[in-house]
Assembly symmetry: C2
Homo-oligomer: 686 residues x 2
């Protein structure tokens, strides 16, 4: 696929099928863009014209004698398939289908798209689109889109892939004003053939691309995308804006875990897991587009140097709010600073050089703090006598002397500092108007550099038996318990009671108080039908419960129902903590394992961590810093958290093995001292 | 105070004490700014000059014959007091002290500031500053600051008050490029006399000010500020950026509630309670500065009209993430839209008019949806053949026809739409580059318009006895229990055991299982010394516990210690929920009442709602939408939440009455069915 994409981006000849004489038509803008940008051979196909924009027009691509590398197709949707077949005849390697009128317009279009796909299955021709804006290569230049030919586009090192054509053209239109250049710009449209994963694979190896930015609304093949994404982040930063984050969880979800998961959660997890940086605003994208590939950030400790107390204060706020840390300034550095800064300065982070700081004071201070080799934010606030341009030059010199120091500048203010800001931006130094921009970049890049090489040692090492699960119905109670026992998750003692005469023996084994429950694969929520009797203190109470539950089974006509007797796991135990353990199969990304606050708190407090198997060592380590992780540690120590980590790994392996399992609820798992035991268990199937 | 501030902003004559010939000095920039902006009489005081910038210089202000309204003082700090005394002699009404060198520079400056304050106490002269940038009135114009005289400043309707001079000059410098104009700009500096509250009082009544924006780092008199803020928000939007939000809770905090409260929490609560809009970035401020006073937003349902699917998607995301709603489009509107929009359009919210939407389609669609009278975001994305300027004109016409419709435009893109965006901005229509900007404004204004008239009916109505609390030591156990019993918070049955022979009788009253505890005002955390024995099942166990706890009292030398016997509130109860109820006295804003998840979950899960007494009806209503509120409702219904609301009100009244109470912990309060009972109680004093 890489060769094909290379050919699309760098063709020796292009045929524009549907080039148009009418300047109001897409086919006219495409031809104009290609002519203005492209140095190879251009052919024009339009059966109703003899020449367009001064170029000879062919009735059909098959009439052209020369070799054609790729075709750009912009004709009515119902004629696209015929044109593609002509391309195949002509041995054209690939096509960019601009034409709309497919899946996106409803039924008629869906049929067309299915036909297109089935043709592509048996054809050698590869396709980008349909319903896309086209493709731009900036070096060598080839603009094969219908973006406004007047749009200024700079050459740079960011590749941009977008599922929305409108957003792509808006972002490209705004990029030059934001000093952003591109290596490649690709509108994927409906992606019937070449998809986002293929493009990421290609861009990963593209030496002109230093960072990859994506706008996504959805994915068809989550696993393929994730594989490509994981490989790409090993080589360069990938930044993703996901549109459609709103939670529209279907009301049909029966499991706790499923209802806690939501729609966007799996995307977010998957992107994080693959080491991609996620943003949520279009404007957040711009700074990453421009600056993501400039520095490696390998620590979360940030140094702030400022000539304005207020600037230092708000920068510290952002640093803390983004989960970064203000770097501790050691004694040696403080002493060094004390020699060069006035008495009223703050020698600790944020280092306040005072409002009258001349460029030399910036220079001396940066010289000292650059020794710390930590991401450094230099703030300049225009004040009386301050010299923005000279200060910018001093900052640039610092960068030249220490090119690997992650040095970020913030020039607060407008016209007074505009030139200084431009001076630095033009020299490639990350420079912003507001402190939060610098902090966001550092935070995103720190995430990237600390997550791009995930390891899976613990996941692989964890001993987990293969536990096949073949049931075609939901599995609750003892049936499910036996599965979890095999997986190695501790469950409460229990047994099935078939006849009344088994009751006494069972109760003697289990002890009092005990709990009697109805189990039926058609009843997910037993409490709703009164199917649970708790705190049974003696045999008299047990007999009574046995009778009343049997009556319910009769009344509710539960053919498969059984009664099950369980020990009371909380009996005589104080300060127990209830945890939710679960699994959910996301339609795009597959299994997600959940660890959260459980029991009566699960629904309302909604404090859950999710992980995608395989679960990385990094994710596991980070669990102990989450609220749920801390809760488990506070109840049973690090050892207890480790036990739960074993559980989520084994649940992950179980769901990876058994694709029919849709959801799992173990809620609650009760922690009491050094013991954790699941007292309710459910497995839902597809 | 209002008259004085009016005089400062609109003086008939100004004396600049410390006007300077040296263009590098602050005193030179101030004089230049005043001369360039001000039409009244200008006098210059500088003992070392005969004339400055062509104006005669006096040795002392007392030498001037004319009446002087205000003095702007920019001389070394140690000469300020003498100059002020001269001003008093000369009957100058007020002074702006620019000079730095006070509290902000440490000890020497603190002494100077104390002297200044003590002089002001007995003087009639009123002061802004010291250590400030000065004051600007835009109409009539008077720039009495040392901001760079080249800075462009527009006249507008926003008043800006800043505690940071550097941030103020940066924001003012950047404002003109953001199309922001000001009515007044005030740098408060150390605010030794006229403070933020006084200024807010003045600006509230100022007809040229339509919105007030503040940058604050801290406040001395929280109650005074809050009173002024509450009055101001009744008249106009107030927007606050608080610097210094990081949590530096002192490790000395002993109570749960106190450690959960944190530093910024009280500020945030106070601002919200007063109906102010809070923002956390400087760049967020700009849109509010420009647009906060333009529309009233009285519903959280937003209509989105777009020519780009992607634009609609990301706008919906922001709307949901900001807690707003996508408005439901009723049948009538859908039918009306179906008549004017192409077949493939989306007639539901977000209304997608398709990429080829010409200006007329915008016009027709806006005509239909403007009938809904809901905040409307119109998105324009530059696409083939789209006409930005004509579309902008159509949007403006819609505004002219329906001036009260909250109409927000987003023109995605750069150069292609720049002129259209400017066309609308210049005509005062809120117009942005990115959808999240429009959503943030709507969200902030919706908060404002739904919170600016808080009522306190429930708080006032709640019957609460006056419960004086005179203790000078912390109060735990039965001592505290008796207080809460009086307040009307249900507590677990308990009694003090003075001698061994009381034990049996007490146990008979309380029943088994029971709990025996050591109570001493020097021991806040009994568990740490083993001072609690739970699950005592019979008299033998009770006697044993009695002996062992008495031994601990001896060993730990707890002179005041007593033993207390309590019922076991969780005995035989399933699905209990543990709630934390508490109080904390913030040094700036006074009492804050807490309602959160309690017991073993309190520390790690940290899910707490705080409220400042008096607690408004709005705040009470919103409680049921919080996680804690939902948890309580799920456990005991709306009635139970109502009971807790009664508790927090009564705790609020108790803390308002008893200023010596520093913190209160009732943790946990156990909900079981229809019953809620506090089982541990602590009152901490200052």
């Amino acid at each position: 696929m890489g060769m094909t994409i290379e050919k699309i981006l760098n063709p020796e000849s292009i045929a524009i099928i549907g080039a148009s004489r009418n300047p109001n038509k897409v086919g006219s803008a495409i031809l104009k863009n290609i002519r203005l940008s492209y140095r190879g051979k251009i052919f024009v196909v339009n059966p109703f014209a003899d020449e367009i924009q001064g170029i000879k027009s062919y009735k059909s691509i098959t009439n052209i004698k020369d070799k054609i590398d790729i075709a750009v197709i912009s004709i009515p949707a119902d004629k696209v398939l015929k044109a593609l077949k002509d391309c195949e005849k002509k041995k054209v390697g690939a096509a960019i289908i601009i034409s709309a009128g497919f899946k996106e317009i409803g039924k008629a279009g869906e049929k067309r798209e299915t036909e297109l796909k089935s043709f592509l299955k048996s054809s050698k021709i590869r396709v980008i689109g349909p319903n896309c804006l086209g493709v731009i290569n900036m070096d060598p230049m080839a603009n094969m889109t219908f973006v406004d030919p007047n749009t200024k586009i700079f050459k740079g090192s960011t590749a941009f892939i977008s599922q929305s054509g409108a957003l792509l053209s808006a972002i490209v239109d705004d990029a030059s004003a934001n000093d952003i250049g591109f290596s490649k710009i690709i509108s994927v449209g409906n992606a019937v053939d070449i998809d986002e994963a293929d493009l990421i694979d290609y861009l990963r190896e593209d030496e002109k691309t230093k960072s990859i930015v994506l706008y996504l609304e959805g994915l068809v093949n989550g696993e393929k995308f994730l594989r490509s994404l994981k490989e790409a982040t090993k080589k360069k930063p990938v930044i993703i804006l996901k549109g459609g984050r709103s939670n529209k969880t279907s009301s049909a979800v029966m499991s706790h875990t499923g209802s806690l998961a939501g729609d966007y959660k799996a995307y977010e997890l998957a992107f994080e897991e693959a080491g991609a940086i996620t943003v949520s605003n279009v404007d957040d994208l711009f700074n990453f587009m421009r600056d993501a590939a400039k520095f490696e950030i390998k620590t979360d400790e940030v140094v702030v140097v400022t000539n304005a107390g207020g600037g230092g204060v708000i920068t510290s706020d952002h640093i803390n709010e983004q989960g970064l840390k203000m770097a501790q300034i050691g004694d040696k550095t403080v002493i060094d600073l004390s020699k060069i800064l006035p008495a009223e300065s703050n020698l600790h982070n944020p280092i306040d050089m005072l409002g009258d700081a001349p460029p030399d004071r910036y220079k001396d201070t940066l010289e000292v703090v650059s020794e710390l080799n930590k991401p450094t934010i230099v703030i300049f606030s225009p004040q009386e006598m301050s010299m923005p341009m000279e200060t910018a030059k001093v900052i640039y010199d610092t960068h030249l002397n220490k090119p690997n120091l992650p040095l970020f500048s913030v020039f607060l203010g407008g016209t007074n500092v505009e030139k200084a800001r431009r001076f630095l931006v033009e020299r490639g130094l990350p420079t912003y108007e507001y402190p939060n921009e610098a902090v966001d970049i550092i935070s995103g890049l720190y995430f990237y550099y600390s997550h791009r090489f995930p390891t899976y040692n613990r996941y692989k090492k964890e001993k987990a038996k293969t536990v096949p699960f073949k049931s075609k119905v939901n599995s609750f109670g003892m049936n499910a318990k036996l599965v979890f026992d095999k997986i190695g998750i501790k469950t409460v003692t229990g047994m099935t009671i078939s006849k009344e005469n088994e009751l006494k023996k069972a109760a003697e084994k289990i002890g009092y108080p005990c709990v009697l429950k109805i189990s039926s694969h058609t009843v997910a929520h037993k409490n709703k039908i009164g199917g649970v009797v708790t705190e049974i203190k003696d045999y008299t109470e047990l007999e009574k419960a046995f009778k009343s539950l049997n009556q319910i089974i009769k009344d509710e006509k539960l053919a498969d129902a059984k009664l099950e007797l369980y020990a009371d796991a909380t009996n005589g135990k104080k300060n127990t903590i209830e945890i939710l353990l679960g699994g959910h199969r996301d339609p795009v990304f597959g299994p997600m394992i959940a660890l959260g606050i459980g029991g009566v708190y699960a629904n309302e407090i909604n404090e859950v961590e999710f992980a995608l198997p395989q679960i990385s060592d990094q994710k596991i380590e980070e669990l102990s810093d989450t609220k749920v992780g801390k809760l488990i540690i506070s109840a049973g120590g690090n050892q207890m958290l480790d036990e739960f980590i074993g559980y989520i790994i084994r649940l992950g392996k179980f769901m990876e093995e058994n694709k029919n399992v849709k959801d799992i609820d173990l809620n609650p798992v009760i922690i009491s001292g050094n013991d954790a035991v699941a007292v309710d268990f459910k497995i839902f199937v597809e």
